[in-house]
Symmetry: C2
Amino acid sequence: MLIVKKFGGTSVANKERIFHVAKRCIKDYREGHDVIVVLSAMGKYTDELVDMARDVNPRPPKREMDMLFTIGEQMSVALMAMAMNALGVSAISLNAFQVAMHTTSSYGNARIKRIDSDRIRHELDQRKIVLITGFQGINKYDDYTTLGRGGSDTTAVALAAALHADECQIYTDVDGIYTADPRVVKKARKLSEITYDEMLDLATLGAGVLHNRSVEMAKKYGVQLVVRSSLTEEEGTIVKEDAKMERMLVSGVAADKNTARISVVGLIDKPGTAFALFDILAKANINVDMILQSVGRNQTKDISFTVSNDSAADALNVIEKNKKRLNPEHVECERNVAKVSVVGAGMMSNPGVAAKMFECLFNSNINIKMISTSEIRVTVLIDEKDTEKAMNAAHDAFGLED
Amino acid sequence: MLIVKKFGGTSVANKERIFHVAKRCIKDYREGHDVIVVLSAMGKYTDELVDMARDVNPRPPKREMDMLFTIGEQMSVALMAMAMNALGVSAISLNAFQVAMHTTSSYGNARIKRIDSDRIRHELDQRKIVLITGFQGINKYDDYTTLGRGGSDTTAVALAAALHADECQIYTDVDGIYTADPRVVKKARKLSEITYDEMLDLATLGAGVLHNRSVEMAKKYGVQLVVRSSLTEEEGTIVKEDAKMERMLVSGVAADKNTARISVVGLIDKPGTAFALFDILAKANINVDMILQSVGRNQTKDISFTVSNDSAADALNVIEKNKKRLNPEHVECERNVAKVSVVGAGMMSNPGVAAKMFECLFNSNINIKMISTSEIRVTVLIDEKDTEKAMNAAHDAFGLED
């Protein structure tokens, strides 16, 4: 088998952890597999580099910031190669230039375009463990770029796709994907399999184990992902297209407290009002999540929407600035709210899921403020204080503890 | 003018020094020059990387060591680009991959083969200050290499040669080349010019401002070097082929205390004895400096030679191991010795220099233990305690204080 393994910064934060990861990779190698390892920068090293840069220039050019960032992963892979060598195994570290990790040109947030796999195949053929810098790429100007948040996961998936790897293993500090956050829902159960779409919805909704971009890429190229713990030998969760859903309607419950509801009340009810509002928000680069429009009094309508907590102030600001264009009666903002969702590919052919969700929340005496659904998801906005109660109620109602 | 400027690790050790260097380079840039800046790793960062590596693997693979080392200079150039940007000047950092700094394949001690100057010229044409990582290169396997001691000086000279720069300025913590070490010889005087060959002899003999390899390369490609202080605005010393020697026989006095004399006494006087001895030393990778053979008693001969202090134990060791082959009466080692030399292109056509040197030492009551000469140099081995006295005597005798 050809296996791509990705370890994050905490997994390589010090000598002991580096050797722990080295031994883990060597185990697969000794079993005869070809092993590619993608590493992030050690511990909080990327943050240290940010501080170093800001000290010299509070607004450093992004191109030079990426030039500085990339040394973090290069340090990780070089030290890992030394550790594996100390354990008697031949390993080689490669950076973005050496694996020709071509990306789009935008610094700080580039996307992978293609990888020349020749060098990697050559080293694998020499029976070496190949260690590759995550998070970084090269653009058409022959400059370093970085991939933004979750970048190393994306690197791993891109390599797995380019080399047709049998599996891409993402090592994290949790041992897989759960039906709900185990810290909140005591009865939460680890899933053995989940589909890409479910994973995407869970990630978006705050389950946050894998970054969306890596899951999207895995889906596009059919890369089988495995989310595993770097601390235990547990099996983990497989993310793939045709995951067995164990005949369940719902595979998980997720919550996101980083949300605020803004209500724009008393807009004149004529075509183009909604467009005007969301055009203003889009131009201010504010991501809007749930949207609800309701009929107001006296030929007016109310529009409510949710944004992340850190965008709420910006949103209120641009609405205030465009008061004349929008002309609302007044604007409200509610911050003590949370989104709770149930996600499951099974609900596509089962219309009763939403009803069941509302029923269980009613039985728990939880008020629903907004509702949003997709083919495989039902999301409700509720009071933040009810989050845990709602998650447990939904988890029970859909029999996820099983 | 196209100017290549090289700054060492102490010159970029912290934020204040980085800005000091940045301003210095910007001054030339604002005067209309094209400016290329070669930087070393910050302060003692390379030492820190060595410690980091040794902690993981006491004998790290050289290939991975170079992979780790190269991040040091990349950090320097990225931060310098940010600093220049903060000062309102457009600058760009480039690493060995980006300037295609091709070297031989040997890790840790590679030699530069060629540089593709296209990228550099392109950036200069955009009126950017171009910041280039010193000390590092890329070999035919597309791997990072490093150039060994004095590597960044060599990078600067190689760039100056490849781009036909008008001048290559090496910034150090001294403000030029002196007729003798000013800490030892109070009357020492800074030279305005010196030839490559004199510089080479001075470097070899412990004046150590420039590394030999960079001077050799400058000589080969006719690159005009200037040694200047990074702390003051002083003129510095120009190193070039046709330096005016100001009608002087001798341009400098140098001393080297890192030396030991080994005497192999009572060897049988037959052909091949000297060969046997130095063959043994060469195979043990021991550099021999001065050699003196004298007639001994009873058909025997004595051979004395000098090595650096740290090689003395090894040398004694291999001689002991090859006792049967050499069969000496006994072996002596003297560590409290020093080499003192006078160097000057002028002495080529003036036979009296050696005699004058011996005379002045005799007048100072200093005993000469060994003598070695080249076309432009006279070296004597003396007691270490007499070093300062001998240097001052020679400096006076040749009228260097002028």
